[in-house]
């Protein structure tokens, strides 16, 4: 089974709120000092899913695609170190500030150029813009079925059986191949590459494709960003005092009663 995994490099989503800064005029996030960008946390899970499917299937190739600046090579290397076979970095100054909708178009073109994919795996959302639109977008552009928020994926005859996480439980679906599946955190922990694998990954090929290589012009944004800012947080907390935990508990209960909360 030939599988393509799309991975995005993003600012660390666990960046402490105090280190998170926005340049409101430029409508951009200012990279936090000393906090390196990471692979979008769902994307190693998508890579893990690809590796398990390939193993179970006993053959095929896993190609990792990332669209981003030159540093996004690290996101690809991480997937290669996990065990993926080849990488493609889509990098072009023309793509420097494209949005999720334009990204979907570029990824769709790259997926076609790689060719011959039975399955395309992505994360349920990228934890920078928290949009979760690229899987559906690539699906529409390529005319493929899209199964989102997967916690389990298995090859089933000519197709897949996927368990999805719903708002109020789980759903099992069967999908034909080729298809796009987006993976959620419920999938479980991805494997962590060992030093030896990291060194082996250095030898794997990463092609670099430009906008011209893909033959696309992503055009203007369909949904322009008008403003980006940080919400104001006020703190008015009352710390409940007491000499013992029991006394604190009693004092809290009384405060809650006074505030008509119990």
């Amino acid at each position: 089974m030939n599988i393509i995994v799309c991975v995005k490099q993003i600012p660390d989503p666990e960046t402490p709120a105090a280190s998170f800064k926005v340049d409101e005029a430029a409508k951009k996030v200012i990279p936090a000092q000393g906090i390196a960008p990471v692979v979008n946390p769902y994307d190693p899970q998508a890579t893990e899913a690809a590796l398990r499917l390939k193993d179970a299937d006993g053959g095929g190739k896993i190609t990792v695609i990332s669209l981003g600046p030159d540093t996004a090579r690290d996101a690809i290397k991480h997937a290669l170190a996990m065990g993926a076979d080849e990488g493609v970095l889509i990098s072009d100054p023309a793509f420097a500030s494209i949005d999720n909708f334009q990204t979907a178009a570029a990824l769709a073109a790259a997926i076609e150029k790689v060719g011959d994919a039975d399955l395309i795996l992505m994360g349920r959302a990228a934890a920078d813009w928290d949009m979760g639109v690229v899987p559906a977008g690539v699906g529409q552009i390529l005319g493929l079925p899209v199964v989102t928020v997967a916690k389990g994926i298995e090859k089933d005859g000519d197709g897949l059986t996927v368990t999805r996480v719903l708002d109020d439980g789980f759903q099992t679906v069967k999908a034909p191949l080729p298809a796009i599946v987006s993976v959620s955190n419920e999938f479980g922990e991805p494997r962590y590459p060992q030093l030896r694998q990291i060194m082996m990954a250095a030898k794997k090929t990463v092609q670099v494709w430009s906008a011209a290589d893909l033959g696309i012009d992503t055009g203007a944004s369909v949904m322009p960003l008008e403003a980006l800012y940080q919400p104001k947080v006020e703190s008015n907390v009352e710390i409940i005092e007491g000499d013992t935990p029991e006394e604190k508990a009693r004092n809290l209960a009384q405060k809650l009663r006074a505030a008509k909360l119990v």
Partner: protein, 319 residues
């Protein structure tokens, strides 16, 4: 502004609360922009009338099954857009809406703002505010010209009370998409008692509980209130201590109870995204500097194991 189409949904035979919230939002926007509100539902004519009573001017029904996936419902949504002439589409940020919004947007060669927390009409156009960067930032968007599509976060808008005096046209839409993806099984989470989203009091636990047994104490604490449910942080759910259906946050449930008691939860922005609307927050945490303590109204700085039994007793006494 020409008009708004609301995509309403049913779950287990009932129109979802979020659908009524969307109608409330649409009415506010229509008042600002002067257009009409239509609604689409995979349901009956009676469902359509219910939507009209709650704020729609006209409604469309689709015979697609209530639990259809986005690819099946999409053609009906497109037909409703063209028949109503709507230039704005509002969709719930539900399991279905999460798929439907982007699919519709790419088909219409336009964009969708996901999980919006505020909507406004400015100069006849939609302006949508959404949270991003895990809740650390807010983004505001407009549309370059195409269909303006937004999925709306639960509990962002209030539903309007039903007004039986309202009337409007109801029409059936036949368009239906091919089901390439087949649903072969569903396992509903069986949360006993009050649903998390409806609870007046939510008691949530995090990684700091240390082990799953901590949730038993939280269930006991919740049991001392009338309309209470137990929630969890993603860290706790990922550890397998509590089911994912009870997760609160960006990728979990949105709750807006009168009282939210956060036990051993640090208050990461992604968790806040699900409970920032709580009217009163109480934090029980060992760390006075953590974000949950900062945003709360009352906080106890202590090992939760030492406070919880006493707190349960004290609240019972007040009972």
């Amino acid at each position: 502004m020409a008009g708004i189409l609301v995509v309403a949904e049913k779950n287990e035979g009932e129109i979802t609360p979020a659908s009524f919230e969307l109608l409330g939002a649409a009415r506010q926007l229509a008042d600002q922009g002067g257009g009409s509100v239509s609604a689409l539902i995979a349901g009956s004519a009676a469902d359509a009338s219910t939507l009209i009573a709650h704020g729609a001017d006209a409604a469309f029904t689709s015979a697609a099954p209530e639990d259809s996936l986005a690819e099946v419902l999409l053609p009906a949504v497109e037909a409703a857009v063209s028949q109503s002439g709507a230039d704005i589409v509002l969709i719930s940020m539900s399991s279905l809406g999460r798929d439907l919004g982007p699919a519709l947007a790419f088909r219409a060669k336009s964009g969708v703002a996901m999980d919006c927390t505020a909507l406004a009409i400015e100069g006849g156009k939609l302006r949508a505010t959404r949270s991003c960067y895990g809740g650390n930032a807010r983004a505001e968007h407009t549309w370059a010209g195409g269909l303006q599509i937004a999925t709306v976060k639960a509990k962002t808008y209030d539903a309007l009370p039903a007004d039986g005096g309202r009337s409007g046209a109801v029409s059936a839409i036949d368009a239906i998409g091919e089901a390439r993806i087949k649903v072969v099984g569903v396992e509903k989470a069986t949360a006993e008692g009050v649903k998390l989203e409806d609870a007046e009091v939510v008691v949530s636990g995090g990684r700091g509980l240390g082990d799953p047994s901590g949730f038993q104490s939280l269930e006991t604490l919740a049991g001392t209130f009338k309309q209470a449910a137990v929630g969890a942080s993603r860290a706790a759910c990922d550890l397998g201590w509590y089911p994912p259906s009870q997760q609160v946050g960006l990728t979990g449930k949105v709750v807006s109870p009168n009282l939210y008691i956060a036990v051993a939860i640090s208050g990461a922005s992604q968790h806040m995204a699900g409970m920032g609307g709580a009217k009163n927050i109480v934090a029980i945490n060992r760390d006075a500097d953590c974000n949950m303590v900062k945003v709360s109204r009352f906080a106890i700085i202590e090992d939760y194991k030492k406070v919880l039994p006493a707190l349960i007793e004290e609240i019972k006494k007040l009972g």
